[in-house]
Symmetry: C2
Subunit: 302 residues, 2 copies
Amino acid sequence: MSLLVVGSVAFDGIETPYGKRERTLGGAASYFALAASQFAPVRLVAIVGDDFTEKDAAVFRGRKIDLAGLEHAPGKTFFWAGRYSQNMNERTTLVTELNVFANFKPTLPKAYADSEFIFLGNIDPTLQRSVLGQVTRKPKVIGLDTMNYWIERTPAELRETLRQTQILMINDDETRQLTGEHNLLKAAKRIFAMGPKTLVIKRGEHGALMVHNKFFFSVPAYPLEEVHDPTGAGDSFAGGFMGYLASAGRISEDTLRRAMVYGSVLGSFTVEKFGVERLANLKRGEITARARLFSKLTSFKL
Amino acid sequence: MSLLVVGSVAFDGIETPYGKRERTLGGAASYFALAASQFAPVRLVAIVGDDFTEKDAAVFRGRKIDLAGLEHAPGKTFFWAGRYSQNMNERTTLVTELNVFANFKPTLPKAYADSEFIFLGNIDPTLQRSVLGQVTRKPKVIGLDTMNYWIERTPAELRETLRQTQILMINDDETRQLTGEHNLLKAAKRIFAMGPKTLVIKRGEHGALMVHNKFFFSVPAYPLEEVHDPTGAGDSFAGGFMGYLASAGRISEDTLRRAMVYGSVLGSFTVEKFGVERLANLKRGEITARARLFSKLTSFKL
C-alpha cells in the first residue's frame, strides 16, 4: 500500500573523520523515502528551491517514489551543514539555512488523498496536522517524528497532532522531555494516554526499543567496523520501519517486530557511506541478507 | 563444575531515590557468588575483617557457596558508600575505606586447586595472576574483570594476566581505554591479540554485546519500570554468565549465547531491590521465567 511522507528535502554539508561532502542530498524525507521505497510505493511531500535540479532529483527516479508532491518554490533549498567529532559521538551544527523550507505549507496532490499509511516527519505539528486534514479516507496507520524544538515551543499543537497518531518514533531524550518521566516504560504509559499506542524509541548505536501496550521488543544496532557518516540513520530507520509496515498492509505484533528489524537494517546501511550514497545503491538482496544477520546477532536457544 | 571467584566482599552504604542502606553486604564477589550459585557450586576467595560476623555470612549459607576461601583478618571489612542521582545515571562515591582489603593476598585452600572455571574479579592484576599460580590443573575457562585504575596504573601486569585469560568482561569505556580504539569491533580484535578470544562488553541500561572471533551476540537490558539500586548489576551479570557456563561445563557458541542471557537475567533482578536483597530471595523458577521474557523481548520471525 502507498506510504505518504511529509518532511524535509535538503542539501547537506557533512564532515566526519572519514571525509567531507560540500553539498549532498539530505533531509529527513529523502532518507525516509529512499529507505521506504525498498518495500512500498512512496509519495513524497516536501519543498525544494530552484537550485534543486533534475540531476538532484535523479536519485529518486527509477524507484517507487512519486514526486508529484515535491513542490518547487522560488529561492534556495534548505541547507544544513555539520561536523562530527573524532568518535562520531558529538555533532556540531555549522550552518542552518531554512530558505524555502521556512514557508513550507504542505499541499497534497489530489491523488495522495487516499493514502493509507502516513508518516509525519519532524516539522511544525500544525503543518503535520494540516496533512491529515487533506486526506479523505481514514488512514490505517499514522506515524510521527518530532523533536525538542516542538516539544518546548508548541506543546499544545503537538498534543493535538499526537491524538491522531498511532506510532510515535522519537529518541530517548525526546521521550523523557515529552513526558517529564525518566523511566522509559513509565514514559510510554504517559504517551499511550496522549494517543499513540506504539512508542518506538530510537537509541542510535544502542538500537531501538518498541513499547506497545501489549508487549515490548528490543533490537540492537548492527555492530559495524566503520561508520562513515551517522547522518540520516534515524530517518532511514523510520523509512525501513514504515515501508515494511505499508508492504505488509497491516499492524500486528509480528509485523511490528519485523518493522523494527527492517528499520535497523536500513539505518545500518545508511551509516556505511556519506549522505544517501549507500541507500542510493542498495539492493533488496542485501537487505534480506542483513536482516538474517540481525537474527544471528540476537537469537539464542534456552 | 565448580567455579572459583576471587574479588571483594564489602559493606556498602547506598543511597538512591528509592531509599537508603547504612551498611549492607556488598562487593563484587558477593554479587557474583550469589548470582553464580543459582547455577553451579561457587568457591569464594575474598577477605573480610573481624567486624564481619556469622550473621553477615548467613546470606551465603544454605547455597552452593564454599566459604573455606573467605579469609578473616584483624581489622575492618572494606567499606564503600555512594549516592545515585535522581535518574540513577550518575553515581557519587562518598567513602572508600579499603581496610583489610588493602593487604589482600589471595590464598587458595588446597581443595580449590582443581577449579576448572575461574573468575578473576576486579583486583590488582598481579593478585589475579597469583590465583592462577595456585591452580594445579589447567582451568577450562578463565574470565576476567578489570577497571580504568589497573588499565592506567599497571598496564604491563594487566597484559601479562590477560595472556592467560579466555573471556574478558568489561564495560565500553574500559574497552576503549584498554585498546585506544573507539570502534568496539576493532577494539575487540586488539583484545583478541592480547589473549582473550571472547570479549563481553557490559553496557548497563543498554545491555551487553559479546564479540567472539567467530560471531557476535547482543542482548538488551530487561526494561523495568522501577530500578531501586543499580549497585552490583554488572557483577551479577558476570556471576550469571560464568555460573551458567560452569553448569554447562563447556564453551560453545550456544552456551556462550545462553550465558549472555542468564547474565542479563541476573543483572535485571539485582537492580529491583537494594544491595543483594533480591539475589538473596531469588528462586530458580523466577530465573527461568525471566529468561523466557528475554526471548519474547528479542525474538522475531522474518
